[in-house]
């Protein structure tokens, strides 16, 4: 079986990261923005796993790191959705453009 070169995987993760960033900047729906952030986190996970496999195949640090990130991401999703529900209750909307009171 042919080895997939590292650059391919890095290309994939970079693409994922910027797709996520694009979504974060352009979407106005908070749920979609949250999904975009998850995309970015996952691209980082891919990086960790790939580097671990290609550079230090006999160690497990990168895998553990990505496991931690998945845990944090789950917690973060819970908190974010709680915030979104509260926002919806107070503003009857989950559009970020409707929640701009916190300014000077």
């Amino acid at each position: 079986m042919n080895e997939i070169p590292l650059t391919h995987i890095l290309f994939l993760s970079t693409a994922l990261f910027f797709i996520g960033m694009y979504g974060l900047f352009t979407r106005r729906n908070l749920i979609t923005m949250l999904m975009s952030i998850e995309l970015m986190l996952n691209s980082v996970n891919i990086n960790f796993v790939a580097f671990n496999k290609y550079l230090f195949p006999d160690q497990l640090d990168g895998l553990f790191f990505s496991l931690f990130i998945i845990t944090i991401a789950a917690a973060e999703a819970a908190v974010a959705i709680a915030i979104i529900i509260n926002l919806y209750r107070s503003h009857q909307s989950i559009d970020v453009d409707d929640a701009t009171e916190m300014k000077f």
Partner: protein, 612 residues
């Protein structure tokens, strides 16, 4: 040497009373504050007498000389191996004597106030302040370290401020307390500088060590302090004079005496406390405590002598012209304190030459009793006639027999003690207060027994304490001193006193114009004395016309424009910058995300390509 540690309780009990009454007095002890405070002070008084008995009669003496005993010393702040601020308890003849004086006079005042201050709204607060005052004075007496003296010195100042301004809704009382505080604070500045000089050259703040180092003419400290000079006087003279300045402020010596007559605005028992036992003798005590050092410097002693003598004379002259009974007593106090200072000034350290020191302490001791008696008597009279003016008082002998006798005894005591007999101001009070002819019908009783009892006790003291063989106990070097009353010498002052009494009796015994004639005879001098020789006006002139426009206003201008201006510049700049960039906080989450990622990219570029 036995254990004197229990002396610590003497100041601590009033402190505890102060804390308890100060915190909970108005709520829980509004009625019982007087009893609580008096009981705690009674314990202190008993302890003082126990200490005095133990010290003077049991174990204070070693080889015929009374020892200085440091009962307790606790280093509080250590600056360098030698210089430290200590808290401690010293036991020596003058401190034990002062313990007796302060606790017993304060106790009399406490008991007297039970009747005098009855029904006052802030009764508990009054007793809390009295306790604080007693505590600070006791702490001052027992100080081992000159800085400890200074701290309690300030505490005395604060508590006197509180007591003089006790009737705080009376503007004159507020002004008087402020005046007393500012004048004594000004004097304390000198005291502090004096302490610094002593500490710098003596290399220690401990009184015992300081005396040891500065009284041997060969020690390096003594040589350095006498060889350094400033404006033509040695640093020793400067240090001692500045310390004396602090003492003069508290003891109301000319020219820092202006607060004393105004201090009469406080309740009368407070005046008794301030004038007899506590605040004003603090200065004398300070000089006596450092007397071995003072005796090494002729110039400083000369200043003490002249200031004392001049104040005594000045106060006596002013007292003759005043009509407010408390003011007369205030000036008489100033006069008596002047004598004490004078006696210290002409004294030498040790042996026969230390007679002045002994006499000064003796006078302090007796003065405390008869002066508190005079004030409490005056308080009883004021309580009854509701006036401070002596012309309103007259014919009270039949109405207030006990007060009459007590006052008479006090006046005779103040007038007739060799070697420094009193001036005729006090006889004026006596005759004016009690034998002045016209009599208003008064329907009050003489006051409660709590007001009479202290008068009786103090009268007994005023009669009795003169017979104490004082020179056996308190001398400048601790060794007993043989004194012999020189009958020939005492004829002159005593006869002078009697002449003065007769003269004032002829003035005031019946309604006549003799006193008016005497006033006319002295004319301008009388008016000047009545106006207290314009010292107050001089102070006002100096402060209002010279200090305020020439020093105060330029400094105020600099403060407003330069110091404040700089601060305002910083504040305004910050405000301008904030206004300029506040638009960045738009409230749009995605903008913030953009800034964040922009920042990350900028930092990446910086660290990867530029910083290397």
């Amino acid at each position: 040497m036995s254990n004197y540690l229990y002396i610590l309780w003497i100041p601590l009990l009033p402190l505890a009373t102060f804390v308890v009454l100060g915190l909970f007095g108005r709520k829980y002890f509004a009625k019982s504050a007087g009893i609580i405070s008096t009981a705690s002070l009674l314990t202190s008084t008993i302890l003082s007498f126990v200490a005095a008995k133990q010290y003077f009669f049991v174990d204070g003496k070693v080889n015929g000389i009374y020892q200085k005993i440091i009962a307790l010393k606790y280093t509080w702040l250590q600056f360098s191996p030698n210089v430290s601020i200590d808290m401690g308890v010293i036991v020596d003849p003058i401190s034990v004597m002062m313990l007796i004086v302060v606790t017993s006079v304060s106790l009399m005042v406490h008991v007297f106030s039970l009747g005098y201050m009855k029904g006052e709204e802030r009764f508990a607060t009054y007793y809390a302040f009295l306790s604080l005052f007693t505590f600070s004075m006791l702490g001052l007496i027992l100080s081992v370290n000159i800085f400890q003296v200074y701290m309690f010195w300030e505490l005395v100042g604060v508590s006197s401020f509180l007591l003089i301004g006790y009737y705080f809704n009376k503007p004159s009382a507020v002004a008087a307390s402020k005046k007393a505080f500012i004048v004594t604070r000004f004097a304390d500045l000198g005291f502090l500088i004096g302490i610094m000089i002593m500490g710098f050259y003596g290399g220690t703040l401990d009184i015992g060590l300081l005396i040891e180092k500065l009284t041997s003419a060969q020690s390096p400290e003594f040589l350095s302090i006498t060889s350094a000079s400033f404006l033509g006087a040695s640093m020793l003279t400067w240090g001692l004079t500045l310390i004396f300045m602090g003492g003069a402020g508290k003891s109301a010596m000319f020219p820092l005496h202006i607060w004393l007559p105004d201090a009469m605005e406080g309740p009368t028992p407070v005046s008794a406390l301030i004038h007899a036992a506590t605040m004003v003798v603090a200065g004398v005590y300070l000089v006596a405590r450092l007397f071995p050092i003072f005796s090494m410097d002729e110039a400083a002693l000369t200043i003490v002598t002249y200031v004392g003598a001049f104040s005594a004379l000045l106060a006596a002259i002013i007292a003759c012209t005043q009509t407010d009974i408390k003011r007369v007593l205030a000036y008489s106090t100033m006069s008596q304190i002047g004598y004490m200072m004078f006696a210290l000034g002409i004294s030498k350290n040790g042996g026969e030459a230390g007679l002045g020191y002994m006499a000064s302490m003796f006078h302090l001791f007796t003065h405390a009793f008869f002066k508190s008696l005079l004030f409490l008597g005056a308080g009883a009279v004021i309580h009854m006639v509701h006036s401070n003016e002596m012309k309103d008082m007259g014919g009270l002998r039949k109405l207030m027999p006990i007060t009459h006798v007590a006052f008479l005894i006090a006046c005779l005591a103040i007038a007739g003690i060799p070697p420094f007999a009193g001036f005729f101001s006090k006889e004026e009070i006596l005759t004016a207060a009690f034998d002045h002819a016209h009599n208003d019908a008064l329907d009050h009783g003489e006051g409660t027994w709590t007001m009479k009892l202290p008068l009786i006790i103090l009268a007994a003291c005023a009669v009795g304490v003169g017979f104490i063989p004082f020179s056996q106990f308190i001398t400048s070097d601790g060794a007993a001193l043989e004194t012999h009353i020189d009958m020939i010498f005492s004829i002159a002052p005593v006869s002078l006193s009697i002449i003065a009494i007769l003269l004032s009796a002829s003035f005031y015994k019946n309604q006549n114009t003799k006193s008016d004639k005497a006033v006319a005879l002295f004319g301008g001098f009388y008016r000047a004395a009545y106006k207290k020789f314009y010292v107050d006006e001089l102070y006002l002139f100096i402060t209002k016309k010279i200090v305020f426009p020439l020093i105060g206003q330029p400094i105020a201008w600099a403060d407003r424009n330069i110091v404040d201006g700089f601060v305002m510049l910083i504040a305004n700049t910050t405000a301008k910058i904030s206004t300029a960039i506040k638009g960045l906080q738009s409230g749009k989450v995605q903008n913030y995300a953009l800034y964040f990622f922009g920042g990350v990219i900028a930092l990446s570029v910086l660290f990867i390509y530029i910083w290397k």
